[in-house]
């Protein structure tokens, strides 16, 4: 343990000679251990990993006393020598398995390409080794799938291929930069188990970069927390989570939504606001020269549910289960069929102008705070847009006053109205989106994963804001999410969706503590839970 695999001393990285993103950090990674670097987005954790392999963008300047890999100083190495270290001695797994693979090469040839770089093997030996790697990462039916193209694999399978590629050089250190962030919970659990398993087989060190504290607590041996380019706290996992020393760490831990909070919700019944029955959303699959409809994609396949006034229904499910489609088609953004009654008005019977007038009843907040606002409009105009469209008689002065009031409600400064969306951070943008939805006094807001693109501490603030607004205005939420911990925090009722159908619904405490359906049980078991001894 005394001889670290990787030792970084006093590393600093500056962009454009001004902006310091990594500020004088030092750490060590030992053989066979799992080291987790945790921090919120923009804290400099990915840049730190890239700097070890010297893969920094051109405008970055690196400054360090030493970066030692097994006692070799990487700082003195030329680019040519570093090429032999990348992949051979240090493997790298990126966040997005969708864009990290070349779509026009088979996965087998992509793995072979990497092996060829580092080992001198014959054709057959190469094939054999690629197959071994795919078996090592537990890709089902590896022998047949070795000739598949990336698009034929699911997200989790692609991430397995990425891991196989990273392992191809038999590295001593594997850097995994948010390896599971874009994957579903159940897949995430599998990938983490796989990484742990491979680590035990090969004895390599694993450097995990993540923003997810719960995940880190279940897999890491040592943890370091980064805040604004500085490592504020380092420690063994058990000690770190039980006795956090630094205030920032404590703040992070307290911001985590906890599954226990679901027990405190009131179960008082209220009259229903939205009633959905037998709702379908089918896309035709057309084939042949006449474009005949051969089958349907059943994105939403006959769901029924109610939402009570002033309450929150959480719609839970993995990606591709149809929850977003359902949310958008309730607003008629995607065509669907079935009975939707809100406040006594049957929405599905309306078209054209009549439908437009009823738009004020349901509003939506999207997942991605970056693409959900027109980059060329001022924030004030964005918020006022709904008022302009639905209440054309409201005067300019009244509209401005209303925008000021809305900004205040979502805790943004008044002068935000004259700024552009890109000047705001992700959390602030999400607040603007909430203000835009609130502008027309909706009865129901569909929140489509509003917090999944945000950091934990910001996520906690947004959830708090949503709860406060619910108490003040009595608005109901349809909260679409894949994150069960958030569900526990905000929801009154839960509906679990699987392959277009709702397989289980009920009060939040009931569903989360005594799940009846096998899928719900699996989902709950896969959620990484913070390991804390209370």
């Amino acid at each position: 343990m005394n001889n670290p695999i990787l030792a970084v001393e006093r590393l600093s990285i500056t962009f454009n000679h001004r902006q310091t993103v990594v500020d004088d950090i030092s750490f060590e990674i030992h053989a066979g251990e799992t080291f987790a670097l945790v921090g919120e987005s923009g804290s400099g954790k990915s840049i730190t990993a890239l700097s070890v392999l010297r893969l920094l963008p051109n405008n970055a300047r690196l400054n360090a006393e030493a970066i030692n890999l097994h006692g070799d100083d990487l700082l003195g190495r030329s680019e040519f020598e570093l090429c032999k270290i990348r992949g051979r001695r240090i493997g790298f797994i990126f966040q997005d398995p969708m864009s990290s693979l070349n779509p026009v090469m088979t996965i087998g040839s992509q793995i072979e390409e990497v092996i060829k770089l580092h080992f001198d093997l014959t054709r057959d030996a190469l094939k054999q080794r690629a197959l071994e790697l795919l078996q090592q990462v537990e890709l089902p039916q590896a022998r047949q799938r070795i000739n598949d193209y990336p698009h034929q694999l699911s997200g989790g399978q692609r991430q397995r291929v990425m891991i196989a590629i990273a392992l191809a050089g038999k590295p001593d250190l594997l850097i995994a930069d948010e390896p599971t962030t874009s994957l579903d919970v159940t897949i995430q659990a599998q990938i983490l188990a796989l990484l742990k398993n491979i680590q035990q087989q090969t004895g390599m060190a694993l450097w995990l970069i993540s923003h997810d504290l719960a995940l880190v607590s279940s897999i890491a041996d040592r943890v370091a927390v980064m805040q604004q380019g500085k490592i504020v706290e380092t420690g063994a996992t058990a000690e770190f989570f039980n006795q956090p020393k630094h205030p920032y760490t404590r703040k992070l831990l307290s911001a985590l939504p906890s599954m226990q909070s679901c027990l405190t919700h009131s179960t008082e019944e209220k009259p229903p606001l939205l009633q959905v029955s037998d709702f379908y959303c089918h896309y035709p699959i057309r084939k042949g020269i006449f474009k005949r409809i051969v089958d349907y994609v059943r994105a939403v396949d006959g769901v029924s549910f109610d939402i009570q006034q002033g309450k929150t229904l959480a719609l839970v499910g993995e990606s591709g289960c149809g929850k977003t489609t359902l949310g958008k088609s309730l607003l008629n953004l995607i065509p669907g069929s079935g009975r939707v009654v809100i406040n006594g008005v049957e929405l599905n019977a309306l078209t054209g102008e009549a439908l437009r007038r009823q738009r004020a009843n349901i509003q939506i907040v999207f997942q991605d705070p970056f693409s959900s606002m027109n980059p060329r409009m001022l924030v004030g105009d964005i918020i006022a847009e709904g008022i302009r469209a639905l209440h054309p008689k409201v005067s300019l002065e009244q509209r401005k006053a209303r925008v000021r009031q809305l900004l205040q409600q979502v805790d943004l400064p008044e002068d935000s109205a004259l700024r552009y969306p890109h000047e705001f951070s992700g959390g602030q943008r999400q607040r603007i989106c909430i203000a835009r939805a609130l502008a027309v006094d909706p009865k129901l807001i569909v929140c489509d994963e509003p917090t999944s693109a945000l950091d934990v501490s910001v996520q906690a603030q947004i959830i708090q804001l949503l709860k406060t607004l619910q108490q003040e205005k009595g608005v109901s939420y349809l909260f679409i999410t894949h994150d069960l911990a958030v569900v526990a925090e905000i929801a009154d009722d839960v509906a679990v969706m699987y392959q277009g159908k709702i397989i289980e619904q009920g009060g939040v405490a009931e569903v989360l503590t005594q799940p009846k359906h096998a899928y719900t049980q699996k989902l709950l078991a896969a959620v990484p839970v913070l390991k804390m001894d209370h």
């Binding site: 953004l333 991605d368 693409s371 847009e385 709904g386 469209a389």
Partner: protein, 456 residues
């Protein structure tokens, strides 16, 4: 005063731009990008150069019949001011600042003998008694005089510019601090450019009264006058064609991308059909049509300039009709992408009408594409005009254009010694205009993109 068709369209364009300027004056989010353009050095320099071209083009767009008209001729303000230049025709080619023709001729001398040599020009350097010794000195002297005029003129303007705000403040004592406060880097750059352009222009004007500063062409016309007159043709082709092309490209492109379905099918069908007809064919056909029409209605087209103008207008129209498809295709693709953006969905969830979505969300977000392709098209249209003139379906051979100048000079490239001045003059003027337009468009595009503004 006589208003030609293209004149009328140019006036209309100016009125529209002024109205737009007035309408946008109070808008907060327009003010900021404009301020950014104002503070960009390159932006202001290229704007000054562009305005200089536009000013000449406008002077050349005010047509009237002179009072003492004998030839039933329509002239522009520019022609009127440049009358000596216009009428100082030589016999044939002469080099810049030359005092003799470019080729030898049989000359009858005063004593009746015949000599084989370079005859003196009728106008260029006629005032010199002994050209061999006086010429260089005279050119420098006159050039310096013109330069001094220009510097003096600009200096006077600058004094006025600096004094007016001071007088308004009633503070005439402390000149230096006030001057420093008014002059920021971009205004300094503007003054620098003015101090280059204006003296250059006055020097050329002053010299052109005595010499042919860019030489003369085959029929002895002054090349400097031709190049200046071509500015209007270039600007008209660039702007009017764009004006005709833009609405079609934007409306069709956005509608096809946004509504898809049968609208998309129809529009795509139209532009693929139009695209598969060779553009030259359409242009040749329409130019021929105009000529036949003018021949049949001779009463309405009595003057050469009216005919040339009609042909120019039709050229603009047909170029516009054939060149909108490329931009339309780009806009359709971009709209297809934008309509799936979440802010468009949010707008329709808020009950915003489809027309408003198109205007407020789609249109502003495709404007960068429009701007880029407009500028690229502007330069390529000026060049296209040159190519079309070559196969005789461009502007009227009697009207002035850089295309006609290049076309005329083309054959003389093979001559020994080479006749280089027509081509060079056309190239320099065209290059300055297109470069200024490109640079200015870059700055405008950066300023109106909120994600990039304020980063510099």
């Amino acid at each position: 005063m006589v208003v030609l068709w293209t004149d009328a369209l140019i006036y209309l364009l100016i009125v529209v731009m002024l109205a737009l300027g007035l309408y946008l004056r109070g808008k907060e989010h327009i003010k900021r990008p404009l301020q950014q353009i104002g503070s960009s050095k390159i932006g202001m320099i290229s704007l000054v150069v562009l305005l200089f071209f536009v000013l000449i083009g406008l002077l050349d767009s005010v047509h009237f019949k002179p009072a003492d008209d004998k030839k039933n001729e329509i002239v522009s303000l520019l022609d009127d001011w440049a009358t000596p230049l216009r009428e100082h025709g030589e016999k044939t080619y002469s080099a810049p600042f030359a005092i003799t023709l470019y080729s030898k001729e049989m000359m009858m001398l005063a004593d009746g003998s015949i000599q084989w040599g370079y005859p003196r020009l009728e106008f260029g350097g006629r005032h010199l008694d002994d050209p061999e010794t006086q010429r260089i000195r005279d050119i420098l002297q006159k050039g310096f005089y013109g330069l001094a005029q220009g510097v003096g003129l600009t200096g006077l303007f600058m004094m006025l510019y600096l004094c007016i705000p001071m007088l308004r403040r009633g503070n005439t004592v402390r000149v230096a601090p006030a001057a420093r406060a008014v002059v920021n880097p971009s205004t300094k750059a503007v003054w620098l450019v003015l101090f280059i352009i204006v003296p250059l222009a006055t020097t050329l004007i002053h010299l052109s009264a005595y010499y042919h500063v860019f030489g003369t062409d085959k029929v002895g016309e002054d090349v400097f006058y031709q190049a200046v007159k071509s500015i209007r043709t270039g600007l008209v082709i660039g702007t009017l064609t764009t004006l005709i092309m833009l609405p079609m490209a934007i409306i069709f492109g956005i509608l096809a991308g946004f509504f898809r379905g049968w609208v998309d099918d129809v529009i795509q069908y139209v532009y693929t059909t139009l695209n598969s007809i060779p553009g030259v064919l359409l242009i040749a056909a329409s130019i021929l049509m105009v000529q036949v029409y003018m021949a049949n209605h001779e009463a309405a087209f009595t003057s050469v300039i009216v005919r040339a103008d009609m042909r120019l207008l039709f050229l603009c129209m047909i170029l516009g009709v054939t060149s909108w498809t490329g931009l339309c295709r780009l806009l359709r693709a971009e709209t297809l992408k934008l309509r799936e953006m979440e802010y468009v969905q949010a707008a329709s969830a808020l009950g915003v009408k489809q027309g408003a979505i198109l205007l407020r969300h789609i249109l502003p977000n495709v404007m960068h594409i429009v701007l880029i392709s407009v500028v690229l098209d502007f330069s390529s249209l000026v060049l296209a005009e040159a190519v079309l003139s070559y196969i005789n379906i461009g502007v009227d051979p009697t009207s002035y254009s850089w295309g006609n100048m290049i076309n005329g000079a083309r054959l003389e490239m093979a001559r020994e010694p080479i006749v280089w001045w027509s081509l060079t003059a056309a190239f320099v003027f065209m290059f300055a205009l297109v470069l200024a337009a490109n640079l200015f468009a870059d700055v405008v595009q950066d300023a109106f993109d909120p994600r990039r503004s304020g980063n510099e």
